[in-house]
């Protein structure tokens, strides 16, 4: 089946199975994960509507939804995009640079939290510094 050679650069073709069973299994996995996510989303909605919304419960559910999304991303990339069938060199050249996202997400969400704290501490009030011009508060109050 893989007799056709598309390019002399390719040493061997990964073997593709003749059946579509794996594709359909992945479809069901993705669908079930999505339905699960939607159920958790409805859960968050009901907690928000309730008498005493529990912030930690909402945070927990949101964390679970994030993990389910990463699982979906794994299935799409590995099976639909066939990255899982490629050789190790290929997988690493794609996956290793994406590790930058770990720093990216942590740093910038931290930054947002810091802005929130600054805004709530100095909301409308001039910052108490040695200098005469309290310029730093203007920016925070605007956006």
């Amino acid at each position: 089946m893989s007799a056709h050679v598309s390019s002399p650069e390719i040493t061997f073709h990964p073997e593709h199975s003749g059946s579509t069973k794996r594709i359909w299994r992945t479809f069901w996995v993705l669908s079930i994960l999505t339905i699960f996510e939607l159920a958790l989303g409805i859960g968050i909605y009901t907690i928000h509507k309730g008498e005493h919304p529990s912030a930690s419960m909402v945070l927990l559910l949101k964390g679970v939804v994030c993990i389910l999304t990463l699982a979906k991303a794994y299935y799409i990339v590995s099976i639909f995009m066939h990255l899982g069938d490629e050789i190790r060199n290929m997988i690493m050249t794609i996956v290793v640079p994406l590790c930058l996202f770990i720093w990216f997400i942590i740093a910038f969400l931290w930054d947002g939290t810091s802005w929130l704290n600054l805004r709530n501490r100095y909301n409308g009030k001039p910052v108490q510094t040695e200098q005469h011009q309290p310029a730093a508060t203007e920016k925070g109050a605007k956006d």
């Binding site: 390719i10 989303g41 409805i42 909605y45 979906k72 990339v77 995009m81 066939h82 939290t113």
Partner: protein, 245 residues
């Protein structure tokens, strides 16, 4: 053919062959998608930064609760789940087209490409409806002691915290960044879907004209497929960031 044996003895980095065992075009498609992932990642992370810096943010279940022809029924998450399933289904038909391409089955590729194109157009139509609904749907907002009627746009956010006014609960203007991020990021994703549909139409025409049979392989379908799956992958994260959390 035992691929494991070949892989062990092959000197991948000594030249004359791709160290990634993939054609130039396919490797470059992957690198393009990686850079695009960072573009989308930067957009979504900056949205996260702004959202974390606000004391109040609109509840997505409250904003996205409409469905076509359902009037004012409160249906949180319903329409966006439809859009998600349309995109997952079109991803499946795309991977089936790639599969038929491996089998050199032109009729099969044509059939699944058409289904993928229809899925993409259906998704874009859903997005057009949702945008129209958000922009034109009026909501009462308390601005400077007076009630105004606002749609959701890049300059107006009627989904702020609610206050009591004349004995009833009324919304106040919310963080202005909401509309900008929502329309900016879903619009950028929608533009990707649109270009994906155009690429898929070109691939369909080339398949019909027998270009890939002449070439002896359907690798172009694989490359178009990579792009299309990436669009689905980005939607998974847009869905997470804007609608679920």
């Amino acid at each position: 053919m035992s691929t494991a044996a070949i892989q062990k003895e092959t000197k991948w980095w000594s030249g004359g062959r791709s160290p990634f065992n993939a054609s130039y075009g396919k490797v470059m498609m992957w690198y393009f998608l990686m850079s695009d992932a960072f573009t989308f990642g930067a957009f979504l992370i900056s949205y996260g930064t702004i959202r974390f810096s606000q004391n109040f943010w609109a509840d997505p279940n409250h904003v996205f609760n409409a469905f076509p022809l359902a009037g004012h029924m409160n249906l949180p998450l319903t329409f966006v789940s439809l859009m998600t399933f349309i995109l997952i289904a079109s991803s499946v038909t795309m991977v089936l087209a790639v599969h038929e391409g491996h089998n050199m089955n032109r009729k099969g590729v044509e059939k699944y490409m058409i289904m993928t194109i229809i899925g993409g157009i259906a998704f874009l139509s859903c997005q057009a409806w949702e945008w129209t609904h958000l922009i034109t749907g009026d909501h009462a907002v308390l601005v400077n002691g007076q009630i105004e009627h606002w749609g959701t746009t890049v300059s107006h956010n009627p989904w702020g915290p609610e206050v009591m006014f004349n004995g009833s609960e009324v919304a106040t203007p919310g963080p202005i960044a909401f509309g900008g991020y929502f329309f900016g990021i879903t619009g950028f994703h929608g533009f990707h879907v649109f270009s994906g549909v155009v690429i898929n139409i070109i691939m369909y025409i080339k398949t019909r004209m027998g270009h890939f049979d002449d070439r002896g392989h359907y690798e172009m379908i694989e490359k178009a497929g990579l792009y299309w799956h990436f669009v689905d992958l980005v939607w998974v994260f847009v869905f997470l960031c804007f609608y679920l959390i």
